[in-house]
Amino acid sequence: MREFLQLVVVGISTGSAYALVGIGMVLVFRTTGIVNFAQGSFAVLGGLFMVELVDELHGLLAGLVAVLAVGFVGSLVGFVAVGFRHRTTPLASLIITLGIALLIASLNLLAFGDRPHTYPTIFERAWDIGGVLVQPQYVLVAGVTLLAALLLTLGLQRTIAGQALGACADSRRAAELVGIDVRAVAAIAFAVSAGLSALGWVLLTPVDPVNYDSDVRIAINGFAAAAFGGLASIRLAYVGGLVLGVAQQLVVGYADEIPGLGQQARQYELAAALVIMLVLIGWRARHEVHE
């Protein structure tokens, strides 16, 4: 039982970070129809910027700067990914974001090198709750994620920018007709979603180091979280992220007991997540009417 709880605690925190990436994907997809493959790159950038900044600035300020900087990068990416009116299809946009992910990865390789990056957590020790070790950093990630998700939902409902995003999500045609520039809104959606993804790894990096090529893993996990709700629901993307994170930890934790895997279990961490995702998507496929 204790082991189980331990795995759940870790799973919720990594799952939260995946949820942030997934929520970003939902936001972008709903408002622009684009599935943003570079969403994982934003997370990596967030983590790497934070590692660089945390030596120079106070932790809070460093985090803020990292998130804003990635948000700015995100808005540029959005501008490029949307492409030209009447010419760039959603599939083309997906390929463009793929190219952007590659570009960011190679620039990161150049700037930061090929090694996992991390920074020390500010918390001195873990809490022991009934034998379950809880790293304060885990609690921080989970808490901030929940807060960010709530704030985002509120912002979408209550602010005019949020409503403009909602308008594009509801009907891009009608949004264009009232004079909303869909490209500008896309840039906003990309910026916000980039900031969210960055936030996840700004916080998670002390317990989950990032390398320049972590983007693919993060993008896929984020997509899986988003796909849990058919890329349409922020709430379901949040749930999807947590489910994915916990399931992944449980598979890894108990894999030794699965016959045939034995000691190689840890190497299957990512594969386990991906199989879970494939099952989830396949399950959705049976429920979603073809559009």
Partner: protein, 271 residues
């Protein structure tokens, strides 16, 4: 020197791939005028509107507002120039409350900027826009009652009001309405046309009514154009067209109300 017409379309051609939807149409409309564009299903009426409003890029031809060439400009620029379209099938934002729908009609023009400056402009013009909202509410009191409700959960007639109200928030000088009567009960259509008439006469908003329902369109407008297979075939004052034999047999169904005869079957060729 004579002032140019409010809207002037010259030889407009719209294509979907190789298919020509609109084949060189010219028409014009003066400030404060009420003009109808009638024609059968698939004649190219919606293509014309979309070509004018910037949703489609015209293959040839010119679109001028107040003499200013706006051909091929984006829809945002057309709205800012004073022409707002009420799209076919209303197309409200279903998940947003009625009031947000209306506000977006006014704020839409700010969202060509990035988030920060759009929000700043919003704050700066808050009072002016609140006043405009108040005026729309006073023109359509029903909307005030519905302000909190998601627009998707209002009736068809109410959604048409929301769509018109949303368009009015942009303070247009020309309102282009695509299929006002589509799928609405005759009584509701009557109310709406009375409202549009008042809007035109009291506020001076020019109307371009794009309709399959020729009876309604000719009754409401002083002038009309008839579009068939992508070309204009007739034009003239409504009362003359009403007497025209071709129009009578083709569109007025020998006196039968076309709107009641075939409701909700209208579809224009999609992109």
């Amino acid at each position: 020197m004579s002032t140019p017409p409010l809207l002037e379309i010259e030889g407009l051609v719209v294509k979907y791939g190789p298919a020509v939807a609109l084949d060189g149409v010219s028409l014009s409309l003066e400030a404060g005028e009420r003009v109808a564009l009638i024609g059968p299903n698939g004649a190219g009426k919606t293509s014309l509107l979309n070509g004018v409003c910037g949703l489609l890029e015209p293959a040839a031809g010119r679109v001028r507002l107040d003499g200013r060439d706006l051909t091929g400009r984006g829809p945002g620029e057309i709205v800012r120039a004073g022409l707002t379209q009420v799209p076919e099938g209303r197309q409200v934002f279903p998940t947003l409350p009625v009031e947000a729908n209306l506000l977006l009609g006014a704020y839409g023009r700010e969202f060509r900027h990035e988030l920060v400056s759009a929000t700043l402009r919003y704050l700066r013009r808050r009072g002016e826009i609140a006043a405009r909202l108040e005026r729309v509410y006073s023109l359509m009191p029903k909307l005030r009652e519905l302000r909190e409700r998601p627009a998707g959960r209002t009736s068809g007639g109410e959604q048409q009001m929301v769509a018109i109200g949303r368009a009015l928030m942009a303070e247009p000088r020309l309102l282009a309405i695509d299929e006002l009567s589509l799928g609405l009960a005759p009584l509701v259509v009557q109310d709406l046309s009375a409202f549009l008439l008042r809007l035109n006469e009291e506020e001076g908003v020019a109307l371009l009514l794009v309709e399959q329902n020729a009876v309604l369109a000719l009754e409401l407008c002083s002038r009309a154009y008839v579009l068939e297979a992508g070309r204009l075939v007739l034009a003239g004052p409504s009362h003359e067209l009403e007497q025209n034999e071709t129009v009578r047999s083709a569109y007025l169904g020998g006196g039968l109300d076309v709107a009641d005869a075939e409701p909700g079957t209208q579809t224009e060729p999609g992109p």
